[in-house]
């Protein structure tokens, strides 16, 4: 019943070498249904024996038209979709979207909300890196670590469930602050986590860092030079593993990151192993940031009281007619930022995540574009994979840490 789509040889001619057309090399499809592609990524691999001559990534299998859909939603409704893009980093996606809306509307976020945002974003970074570590090792045949990292990730997801009611699709960060204040027991839970986690991290490192099989399979594999990394727009741990000490949190601080003391871990070799080292070091830095933010957690409100863009507080609605009308109008009509556009970038676990919003003065965004880190990072895959063995391709794809929801949106 389903007809195959026919693609003529001419259309793909420029993607493969002349040797492929003569039949000297083999063209192999990897994916879209392949466990090592972490979702639905198709790679058209040209092989000379076991050597990779070229890789052509084919994406779009998870394209859900989120940007188009957002244009039909009100600002507060559109945020819900940002969780669904990078499903390992919903807090960071919410944050980037909210920062862009706040730049459009000039909303000021209270300090308590800023600190809680930082704590949650860093917890999210750790949980995302844990998923990466587990699945990357799983790709290479180390099954046990996957179970350990998911145990710690569960701890973090429990904290998210505690604050927002949802484990993954949180939508907890809202334009102007947070949905509501954190519940009692939040600080204790985070304290417990940052006490427990360094020990666990040491256990992981004992399993991986000096493991001869892991080192053999990752060192000098998938090397990305500093220049190539910058030219191709690669960001995040991949860029830092290639020797560029760039971090959005330091270079373009948001949410008060400038007040926290942390380092940017970098490596010079730019291979798969370096990316592993950078990500593990980043988890330690995230713990440092969380500890500082938690120790100096300010008291006070968690959302702005700018009534142009914020609903009235719950307790006012029962006693004030104006507030009731405002509440009704806010949740039916939405709010209208002034005309113009804004661009806000955050450091997601995968790199620079930026949201561009254009407003035409109505309650619905005129255009939303999300610059997702995985999209640009995946672009550099052919650069890294040329000349590698086909078995190393799995390690290289894993080291990019792609989330296909983030690539395809």
């Amino acid at each position: 019943m389903l007809e195959p789509i026919e693609v003529s040889a001419e259309e793909l001619q420029h993607l493969v070498s002349e040797r492929a057309l003569k039949g000297e090399t083999v063209l192999l499809n990897m994916g879209p249904q392949h466990p090592s592609t972490h979702g639905v990524l198709r790679l058209l691999v040209e092989l000379d024996g076991e050597r990779v001559v070229n890789v052509v990534p084919d994406i779009g299998f998870l394209h859900t038209g989120i940007e188009k859909n957002m244009e039909a939603k009100r600002y507060w409704q559109a945020e819900v979709m940002t969780d669904r893009m990078d499903y390992l980093n919903p807090i960071g996606n919410n944050l980037a979207y909210c920062l862009a809306v706040e730049a459009l509307t000039d909303l000021q976020v209270p300090p308590r909300a800023q600190a809680i945002r930082v704590i949650l974003a860093e917890l999210q970074r750790i949980s995302s890196h844990l998923v990466w570590l587990g699945t990357h090792l799983l790709d290479l045949g180390a099954t046990s670590l996957f179970l350990y990292t998911f145990r710690e990730r569960e701890f973090i997801l429990d904290i998210f469930e505690m604050v927002s009611g949802a484990r993954m699709m949180t939508t907890y960060i809202r334009p102007g602050g947070l949905w509501r204040d954190v519940p009692a027991g939040f600080e204790e839970a985070v304290h417990e986590f940052i006490k427990l986690f360094p020990r666990r991290l040491k256990q992981y490192e004992a399993l991986v860092t000096k493991n001869p099989i892991y080192r053999d399979r990752t060192r000098h594999i998938g090397v990305l030079s500093k220049e190539d990394a910058m030219r191709w727009g690669v960001t995040g741990p991949m860029l830092r593993a290639s020797g560029v000490a760039y971090d959005t949190r330091k270079a373009r601080p948001y949410c008060g990151y400038e007040q926290y003391d942390f380092e940017i871990p970098t490596q010079e070799s730019g291979d798969v192993y370096a990316r592993y080292l950078v990500r593990v070091a980043e988890m330690r830095q995230s713990l440092r940031i969380i500890a500082q933010a938690l120790d100096n957690l300010p008291a006070g409100p968690v959302r702005s009281d700018d009534r142009r863009y914020m609903p009235p507080p719950r307790e006012e609605i029962g006693v004030s007619m104006e507030s009731l009308i405002h509440h009704f109008k806010f949740w039916t009509e939405g709010f209208s930022p002034p005309k113009g556009s804004a661009y806000a970038a955050v450091e997601s676990p995968r790199g620079t995540l930026a949201v561009f919003i254009e407003s035409d003065g109505t309650p619905r965004p005129y255009r939303v574009h999300v610059r997702t880190p995985s999209f640009a990072n995946l672009q550099a895959l052919p650069v890294m994979a040329k000349g590698a063995m086909v078995a190393d391709l799995v390690a290289i794809v894993g080291s990019v840490d792609i989330v296909l929801g983030d690539v395809d949106r």
Partner: protein, 170 residues
């Protein structure tokens, strides 16, 4: 990031290429005429130290403005943490010179703009659809493209939906 520095860069380029530099919320925007795009981007890289085309996208002002599209580039420099937005107005069907020769990282972004808005790029090494299927008709992010939906397939209406094939092949 120093705002005066970027404003000065934008003003200098605006004067040189007959553009206009403005401040739009948290971005410094340089509006350029299409014919000077490549020269200006080359100058950004060679003279002002911009290292990456962080983002390339477009906005469709259908029935609101002529020319219809705005291409929006965001250039970034890791060394100075400078961020500059460059906007170019493009009419429907008008070809835009590709900046992949200057910033190779713009490759997939230009493909996405081509896929979603139907803006063709000249000099692009591999201009194919990227997110939508090969044989898709139309460009989804254009404002005259309806949001639409797909009817859910069940066993009782499978043949009926297969027969319709509303947009694109299923």
């Amino acid at each position: 990031m120093s705002d005066e520095r970027i404003s000065a860069i934008a003003a200098a380029l605006a004067e040189r290429f007959g553009g206009e530099a403005t401040q739009d919320n948290n971005q410094t925007v340089l509006r350029l005429p299409l014919e000077h795009l490549l020269e200006a981007v080359t100058a950004l890289r060679d003279e002002f130290g911009f290292q990456v085309a962080e983002d390339v996208t477009a906005v469709d002002y259908w029935q609101r403005r002529e020319p219809r599209f705005d291409l929006v580039y965001h250039f970034f420099s890791y060394e100075n943490a400078d961020l500059l937005a460059v906007r170019v107005a493009v009419a429907e069907g008008e070809a835009v010179p590709s900046i992949t020769g200057i910033f190779p990282g713009a490759n997939w972004y230009e493909r996405e703009v081509y896929d979603m808005f139907g803006i063709p790029f000249t000099g692009h090494p591999d201009l194919r659809r990227i997110l939508m299927p090969y044989d898709w008709e139309g460009h989804p992010l254009r404002k005259d493209y309806p949001l639409g939906y797909e009817e859910v397939q069940f066993t009782f209406n499978f043949d009926e939906i297969q027969g319709k094939k509303v947009r694109g092949r299923r």
